[in-house]
Symmetry: C2
Subunit: 317 residues, 2 copies
C-alpha cells in the first residue's frame, strides 16, 4: 500500500506526522485525493507509524466516510482545534511536521504556526511526486481502463464528426460521452481546427470547424486516474505536402518511442526527438510528454534538459 | 474599472506592485482570471500607478493576448528572471510587494525571496475579496445572464426528466446543455435523490433515481461569472406530510429573503432563518447563502455569526 511506503519516508525524515489538506471545495489537492480517494474538504493526518485519519466538516462526513474509513467530524470554524484534539487523543507529537510546500499556502502556514507552536516543518513535495511516479498494479489497471474508455469515445466522436459544426460541439460531445460513462474529464478537451491547430493550449471556439488539420487533446479520469491523448485528424482532403508532413511527424514519434527502449534519460529522449524534427524543430514549443496519474501531469517530464528517468514499473516494484 | 480601484488600494498600502499568478495549467486562481480574463499559466504584475502587464510562457501567448492586451512572453523555466527583467525595464521598484496569501504557496514564496531580495510583502487577500464583492454593471449583467441560461436549462431538464434513469444521467444532461450553450459549469452538478437528498454535497451516483425529494444544485459560468441555484423537486407523488414540510421550508425561505430588506447583517439573517426553521433547525447543517462572482463562493457569507454585510450595489457604486 502506498501509505505504508509513505510512512517509511516519514520515519526516515523523523517527522511526527504529515499533514495534507484540501480546504477549497472545488480545488483538488492531488496528494490529498491520492491517499483518501475523496475530493472534498478535509485535513488528512498520516502519522509516521500509527493509522492515518481524515478530519472533515460535518456536512462532508457521509461522502468522505464512503471513501476513507477512518474519518472523523470536525467543526468547520474550528479546524485546527479539531486537529489538535485528535492528535492529542492519539498521543501524536507535533514537533516535526511534514508538509507539501507546493500546496500549503502562506495563510494556512500562518494558522499552523499559531496552533502548533514551535514546530519544525519538513517539505515533502518532491517525495510525494516521486512516490506517485511509480504506479502499483491497481493504478496501472485504472490508467489502462481510462485510456481504453477515452479511445472508444474518441472513435465514436470521429464516426459522428459530420454532425459537428463548431469546435465547442466536438468538445461538448467528448465531455458528454465521458460523463455518460460515469467518468470525469482529466482536463477540458482541446479541439483546435484550422489556424488554431498550431496553438497547443487553444480553447475551443464557438465558430465553425475549419478545414485542415484539427488537433484534439482529450483525456478522462477513471477511478481518479487520468488518461491523456492528443490526436491529429484532417478535415477535408489533405494536400500531398500536408500528408508528407503528417507522416514525417508520425515517424519521428515512432522513432522516439523506440529510442526510449535504449535510453531512459528523459532529457535525452527529448533531444533525440527535437533533432529528428530537423527543419521543423523550431515549431516544437511544447513538451514531448509526461507521466499521468491522479494528476494529468506527473513525473517524469520529457522536456529540454530534464533529468527525470523513465522507469520500468515491472522492475521497480 | 476594477484595476483602477485596486491600484487605489495599492497606493494606500504604499506597495510598489501586486503580483498575482497562476502556475497550475488546470488550477484557476480567481484573482488572476478576474483581472486578466485569462485562465492559463502566467504572472500578472499590477504596479501601483503604471499600466499592469501579464507575463506568460511562449506556448500560452496567443491565447493570453486575446484576453489581456499587455501580454509579454517569458521562458517557462526562467519565470522569475523574466519578471525581474520586465520590472527593471519599466523602472518599477521591488521593495514592497502586495501578494495574496491565500493563494501564494510556500514554494512560490521561497522563489520570491530568492529573486526579490529584501522585499517586504503585504497581504492583499482580504482586499481582493472585498473588491470582488461589489459588482459593476457589466458583472451584474453577466451574472444575470448566467442565471437566466441556467434557469432555462433547468426547465429543459425537468421537461426531459422521464428519460433519466440515474443521478449521473441528470448531471450529464445539465452539463451537456451547458456546454452546448458555450458555457462552463460553476461546479459539478449535484443531483441527490432519495436518502442522498439530505447530503448537501452528494456526488451523483450511477444508480437508479429514487422516489422522493431530489435536490439539484447546479450553476453555470457566463463570461467567467457564476450562477448557483439549488432546487428541490419530487419524484413520484409526495405525501401530505412531505408537502407540508416542503411548503414550510419554502415559507421560511421567503420570510428570510424579506428579512434581508430590514437587516443587512448576514449573521443576523442566518439566525433569523435558523430560528424560523423551529423543530427542523438541527437538520440545517449548510450555510444559508453566499455571494457569487468569478468564484462560486464569494463574500458575503450568510453563515452563523458572520459579520459580513449585504450591500445594495446600486447605492455602493
Amino acid at each position: 500500500m502506498k501509505i505504508t511506503q509513505f510512512q517509511d519516508i516519514l520515519r526516515k525524515k523523523k517527522v511526527d506526522f504529515a499533514l495534507i489538506y484540501n480546504l477549497d471545495s472545488l480545488g483538488h489537492n492531488p496528494n490529498f485525493s491520492y491517499f483518501t480517494q475523496y475530493a472534498g474538504i478535509g485535513i488528512l493526518i498520516i502519522p509516521k507509524s500509527k493509522q492515518p485519519f481524515l478530519l472533515v466538516p460535518e456536512m462532508e462526513y457521509g461522502r468522505a466516510k464512503k471513501s476513507f474509513k477512518k474519518t472523523f467530524k470536525i467543526k468547520k470554524k474550528r479546524l485546527f482545534e479539531g486537529v489538535m484534539e485528535r492528535l492529542r487523543k492519539n498521543n501524536i507529537k507535533t514537533k516535526k511536521i511534514a508538509i507539501d510546500e507546493s500546496s500549503v499556502t502562506l495563510r494556512f502556514n500562518k494558522a499552523l504556526k499559531k496552533y502548533f507552536k514551535n514546530f519544525k516543518s519538513v517539505d515533502i513535495s518532491i517525495d510525494l511526486l516521486e512516490l506517485r511516479q511509480i504506479k502499483d498494479n491497481n493504478e496501472i489497471n485504472n490508467t489502462k481502463k481510462a485510456c481504453r474508455i477515452a479511445d472508444n469515445i474518441f472513435n465514436k466522436t470521429i464516426n459522428n464528426f459530420k454532425n459537428f459544426k463548431t469546435e465547442t460541439h466536438v468538445a461538448a460531445f467528448l465531455e458528454h460521452e465521458t460523463k455518460k460513462q460515469g467518468c470525469d474529464l482529466s482536463f477540458p478537451p482541446i479541439v483546435a481546427s484550422g489556424k488554431n491547430a498550431s496553438m497547443p493550449h487553444h480553447e475551443p471556439e464557438n465558430t465553425e470547424l475549419k478545414k485542415g488539420f484539427c488537433v484534439i487533446d482529450y483525456g478522462i479520469k477513471y477511478k481518479g486516474y487520468c488518461s491523456d491523448m492528443t490526436r491529429t485528424i484532417y478535415i477535408g482532403k489533405p494536400s500531398e505536402k500536408e500528408r508528407e508532413i503528417y507522416n514525417f511527424i508520425l515517424k519521428v514519434q515512432e522513432y522516439t518511442i523506440k529510442f526510449t527502449n535504449k535510453n531512459n534519460n528523459c532529457g535525452k529522449v527529448y533531444d533525440f526527438c527535437v533533432k529528428s524534427l530537423k527543419k521543423y524543430k523550431d515549431y516544437f514549443t511544447h513538451g514531448l510528454g509526461h507521466g499521468v496519474g491522479v494528476e494529468i501531469h506527473e513525473l517524469p517530464n520529457l522536456t529540454l534538459s530534464s533529468k527525470d528517468k523513465l522507469k520500468n514499473t515491472q522492475h521497480s516494484q
